[in-house]
């Protein structure tokens, strides 16, 4: 029986969408992932048919992200067995139902069995199982969602070193320059961030060295020292967290380049004569940072607040404290402003412009929310030191050579720790404790029970390492390096499941997270990976530009089993859903290859998935068609492109927006681009020759 595609109108889609989701929200696929869209379209099309559906799902993103025990995103019977055996598992279930129905142990009825497998589970390891089940004629629709690789992050409160200072990983923008470790020269370099990925909720571990800690997922790679017995063979290699254990040495940031003065943004300045402004304390505001100002701001971060509507910048420094006298001195020197010191415990600076200025610096509001903003990380040494001095005068104290800084803001302690690491301090971990109402915390009595934390730190001594370099290198592999050092891991502990994110950095593929050198995520090639694509197992080298081989012709292989075979794209839902319905109505096995855009592996922004999927079709890289026995039929856009060849887009349009092909656009690989275009053209021509159009 020939295949007849049902007509699906936009109105149908609107009606169907009211039927309710089968693949429900709350799954943990990456934001923007095309696999979720694909799964919803396939299951909805099946739901419309009315017969019950059952799903077998191979191991892969769709499975892992949808069924984190004890939750499930599937509102249908759903079974996962392993990676390579989804088709065989479906065979078992189908035969079990037949047999039990024969024996009267189960009600007789038609069931639509759908099997989902990724490219790894279908093109590669599961091909035999699929071919076997099809040969046996088991009645299911096998949907291979090809995201083009084996895919596999950092916790959201991770801080990244960027050109513009320290930033939360969630605030990093595409194209931003981040610091990285140059693996050839062991230097600190700036590299462009070319991808940001929301990796969903994952199990997060905390890795601690004596002076650093970072929260990450188990498969995140770190740069580690591999020591051999003979010193000269020691080298740096990447290892994932799961392969690390306490005692292993990882590379951490020791020191940053000296920064430069920071130019402040302009703020709105009130003048006498403005609306409702009759009187104003005129002050001079700095345009650039300087050590005195940074000390003043250190005092502010420690114990200050602003109330711009009252024109107030306040500090709680009691009478006769050193902090109070420094504040008075600095206020006069910096702003030409006489503080009001009448109050026994507090000092007030009255200037609406000052309050506004301080507010514009992003230090956070309220004692619990204070933070050191990113621009502070870009400052010169002495300004950072002055800032720390100010902080210490407010809420710090020294015990011998060790300093201790106390704060109610965890974020402040975290960022302070990282700041100190850029100016050659040793820092301990963050200690937290809850103090009862009434206790004194550095000078002040607590008004309620509060959680306080503190960090200890001390200046590192600079030993004369050149004299004893080999010994020093035993302890610190990078002892002679200006910016980095190696530190032993103290512990690795499971924390909890939480949302994670990952970055991709060009060239060096690493970045500095919470002061530790880490590698971006792993994406390994499969036989469904396109030619020329960069994955972590087919990196774009100087000799070989990414994956060498063209994709396995999976649709053709399946079609050779004499079964209805379809290709479809989630960017064209009507085409996809019509094909799902035709496939399910067919009595016997059917196969569908879906191009599943994956922002994580293919490296483009998460809101571009459907755009990328469209380009795959419009460039004829991924033609939409179906075939059964001697029929080959182009559908949708592909059918229109066959009729109007001049509308076909060049392959570059598809490749260019994807980071995984970026290297192909270097002049030396121009030849490669032409080669890819030729292959696309040749395959497309062959298809057009044998196909009819709808």
């Amino acid at each position: 029986m020939a295949i007849v595609l049902p007509k699906v109108s936009v109105k149908d889609l609107q009606e169907w969408s009211k039927l309710g989701e089968v693949f429900t929200s709350g799954h943990r696929l990456c934001a923007g992932c095309g696999a979720g869209t694909m799964a919803r379209q396939v299951t909805l099309a099946a739901k419309v048919l009315g017969d019950p559906m059952m799903i077998v799902n191979a191991t892969g993103c769709l499975e892992v992200a949808s069924t984190v025990y004890p939750y499930t995103a599937w509102d249908v019977p759903w079974l996962h067995n392993a990676f390579e055996n989804a088709a065989a598992t479906a065979s078992g279930a189908i035969e079990a139902m037949k047999s039990m129905q024969r024996k009267g142990l189960m009600r007789e009825r038609n069931v639509n069995m759908i099997v989902f497998g990724g490219d790894g589970g279908t093109y590669d390891i599961g091909l035999q199982s699929l071919s076997g089940a099809i040969e046996r004629g088991h009645d299911f629709l096998y949907v291979c969602y090809n995201n083009g690789a084996y895919m596999n992050c950092l916790s959201l409160d991770t801080h990244i070193m960027t050109k513009d200072g320290l930033k939360r990983v969630t605030d990093i923008q595409l194209g931003e320059l981040v610091y990285a470790f140059d693996q050839n020269t062991n230097d600190l370099v700036l590299k462009e961030c070319s991808g940001i990925f929301d990796n969903g909720i994952k199990e997060v571990y905390e890795l601690k060295t004596l002076h650093h800690s970072i929260k990450t997922t188990i498969n995140h790679p770190f740069l580690t020292v591999q020591r051999s017995r003979k010193n000269y063979e020691n080298k740096l290699i990447w290892k994932t967290l799961e392969k690390l254990k306490p005692g292993d040495e990882i590379i951490v940031l020791k020191d940053m380049n000296d920064g430069k003065r920071y130019s402040f943004k302009e703020i709105k300045i009130s003048k006498k004569g403005d609306y409702k402004v009759h009187k104003i304390n005129e002050i001079k505001l700095p345009e650039e940072s300087n050590p005195d100002l940074m000390e003043f701001l250190g005092l502010y971060v420690g114990d200050g607040w602003t109330r711009p509507h009252k024109a107030e910048t306040g500090f709680s420094f009691p009478e006769n404290s050193e902090a109070r006298s420094r504040l008075v001195f600095l206020s006069k020197k910096l702003f030409d402003l006489e503080p009001s010191t009448a109050h026994q415990n507090d000092v007030y600076l009255y200037s609406v412009n000052l309050a506004r200025f301080v507010d514009s610096l992003d230090f956070g509001k309220g004692a619990k929310n204070k933070i050191i903003p990113s621009w502070v990380f870009t400052l010169p040494y002495e300004e950072k030191e002055a800032f720390v001095k100010g902080l210490m005068q407010s809420d710090g104290y020294s015990i011998g050579k060790s300093n201790r800084y106390v704060s109610a803001s965890y974020e402040l302690l975290k960022t302070l720790r990282l700041l100190l690491q850029t100016i050659n301090y040793r820092v301990g971990k963050i200690h937290q404790q809850t103090k009862k109402k009434g206790t004194f915390v550095v000078y002040r009595q607590l008004l309620e029970d509060s959680t306080y934390g503190y960090v200890c730190f001390s200046k590192k001594k600079k030993p004369n390492i050149n004299k004893y370099l080999s010994q020093a290198k035993q302890r610190d592999f990078l002892a002679d390096n200006e910016y980095f050092s190696s530190e032993k891991i103290v512990s690795i502990e499971f924390i909890k499941e939480e949302p994670t994110i990952d970055l991709r950095v060009e060239d060096e593929h690493n970045f500095i997270a919470d002061g530790i050198v880490v590698h971006n995520t792993g994406i390994q090639r499969s036989s469904g990976t396109p030619q020329g694509a960069a994955t972590t197992t087919t990196p774009p080298g100087t000799v070989i530009p990414g994956k060498i081989e063209w994709q396995k012709p999976l649709a053709e292989i399946m079609a050779a089993h004499d079964i209805p075979t379809f290709t479809a794209s989630p960017a064209y839902p009507r085409d996809l859903m019509a094909k799902v319905q035709a496939a399910l109505k067919h009595d016997g096995p059917a196969f569908m290859l879906v191009d599943s855009p994956c922002n994580l592996g293919q490296r483009y922004a998460p809101d571009m998935s459907m755009e990328i999927a469209k380009l795959a079709v419009k460039t004829c890289f991924f033609p939409l068609f179906y075939t059964y026995k001697e029929d080959w039929v182009l559908t949708g856009i592909s059918s229109r492109l066959a009729k109007n060849p001049d509308r076909k887009l060049p392959i570059e349009d598809y490749l260019k927006p994807q980071g995984r092909f970026r290297h192909l656009f270097k002049p030396e690989w121009k030849k490669k681009l032409i080669e890819i275009q030729d292959t696309v053209d040749e395959k497309w021509e062959r298809l057009v020759t044998k196909a009819t159009c709808v």
């Binding site: 019950p52 059952m54 077998v56 499975e63 892992v64 069924t67 984190v68 025990y69 004890p70 939750y71 499930t72 599937w74 509102d75 249908v76 019977p77 759903w78 079974l79 996962h80 067995n81 392993a82 390579e84 055996n85 088709a87 065989a88 598992t89 479906a90 065979s91 078992g92 279930a93 035969e95 079990a96 139902m97 037949k98 047999s99 039990m100 024969r102 024996k103 142990l105 189960m106 009825r109 069931v111 035999q128 199982s129 071919s131 076997g132 089940a133 040969e135 046996r136 199990e203 499971f494 499941e497």
Partner: protein, 395 residues
């Protein structure tokens, strides 16, 4: 009916196929491999001649065989399969899925040596190395025991306190292909023994929107695994009861361990599978020479019958453990190390002398077993209480 004993001549493989036919499982998914082939072939005969109404899935590999079994079992079906050696190794990944998802699949193993070098003959390593896969594991000495254990395995696996898969092994060619006398059961007897209804469990079926095989992380994984261990502990009692019931049904005594001439013995052989027959023959020869020796046969390997070992062997001076399996760099033979753990710290227990023998179908002759016995006695006399030797090979 139960009074009449039918006796038929069958090979071990045929005995398995015929017993499975009486059970008439819903699904059999199997891939042929010597020396299991006859099981798959006979069963296909039954299917194609309409003697059973099983769905027979001719899968393209053992990996798919076990995968299909898992799919079928979770759908609520009674499932059977058979394999050997490399086939069992190929199933290994999914053995853990089967037990982890609590599928009471029954698997007959025609025990055969692993490659390389390639060899198709009897050796039990294939099954023994599956000891940690959370499968109930039994060994049979003869075609008769193969027949009996086929039926018994369904009873144990499907018991609500167990709900774990079960495998039983008979040695390739030595048992699988040897024609023996088998007392059969009637269909009615088997129907009385194994409940007609299918197990009550959550099923992968059209009426239940349930998720099977979800990703379980650090927060629940260990609890789920612990439940498997509890099920395995339960399997001991369930096996004991099932064997008791089977003995009454068949009129043949069936026990977790079989004791032969052990009551007054000073020395003992410990073995399993076909070797147990040889051990008993040697006991007879040695008894004739006045040796106070007996033999202990292990039928249930997992859960390991530790208490039975202790009770049977306490008071014995030296135990000769005949193990037809290969292990390398281990402190003892596979079964010996289990026995040693079972007896450790207890008083009045024998010295343990393990012998790796009979690999790749090699025969350890009765005189050789006698020699081995003398070796154990010698070790014991000079005060060495644990030894492991390879025997019966060209030095």
């Amino acid at each position: 009916m139960s009074g009449v004993r039918q006796v038929v001549g069958m090979t071990g493989d045929e005995a398995v196929a015929h017993a499975a036919k009486l059970v008439n499982p819903d699904v059999v998914a199997a891939y042929p491999i010597t020396p299991q082939t006859i099981i798959a072939e006979r069963y296909s005969d039954f299917v194609n001649n309409g003697e059973v109404d099983t769905s027979f899935i001719s899968v393209e590999s053992e990996h798919s065989a076990m995968s299909a079994c898992v799919g079928a079992s979770l759908t609520g079906a009674r499932v059977f399969t058979a394999t050997a050696s490399a086939g069992l190794a190929l199933m290994y990944e999914i053995l853990y899925v089967a037990s982890g998802m609590r599928c009471p699949i029954v698997l007959a193993v025609a025990n055969r040596a692993f490659s390389a070098p390639i060899n198709i003959h009897g050796e039990c390593t294939d099954q023994l190395v599956c000891r940690d896969a959370s499968w109930v594991s039994l060994f049979g000495e003869s075609a008769q025991e193969a027949y009996d254990e086929t039926i018994l395995s369904f009873k144990i696996a499907e018991h609500p306190d167990v709900m774990l898969p079960a495998m039983f092994g008979i040695e390739g060619f030595i048992v699988t292909h040897a024609l023996e006398r088998v007392e059969t059961l009637s269909k009615q007897q088997v129907d009385d023994f194994i409940p007609a209804s299918r197990i009550v469990r959550d099923r992968f079926c059209p009426d239940e929107n349930k998720t099977f095989g979800s990703l379980v992380l650090q927060d629940y994984y260990m609890e789920i695994k612990r439940q498997q261990e509890e099920a395995m502990q339960n399997a001991y009692k369930v096996t004991e009861d099932a064997m008791q019931e089977f003995s009454e049904l068949s009129g043949r005594k069936m026990e977790i361990t079989e004791k032969y001439q052990l009551e007054d013995a000073d020395y003992a052989f410990v073995s399993y599978g076909a070797t147990a027959g040889n051990a008993k023959a040697v006991v007879d020869r040695l008894r004739a020479k006045g040796e106070k020796v007996g033999a202990l046969k292990i039928r249930l390997f997992r859960p390991f019958p530790s208490m039975d070992m202790f009770q049977a062997l306490s008071g014995i001076k030296a135990a000769t453990i005949l193990d037809r399996s290969a292990t390398f760099g281990s402190p003892g033979t596979i079964v010996q190390t289990d026995i040693a753990s079972a007896l450790y710290g207890k008083e009045n227990v024998p010295s343990l002398h393990g012998y790796i023998n009979g690999l790749g179908g090699r025969v350890l002759t009765l005189p050789e077993i006698e020699e081995v016995y003398e070796m154990s006695k010698e070790y014991n006399n000079i005060g060495i209480n644990s030894t492991t030797d390879w025997v019966g090979y060209r030095k």
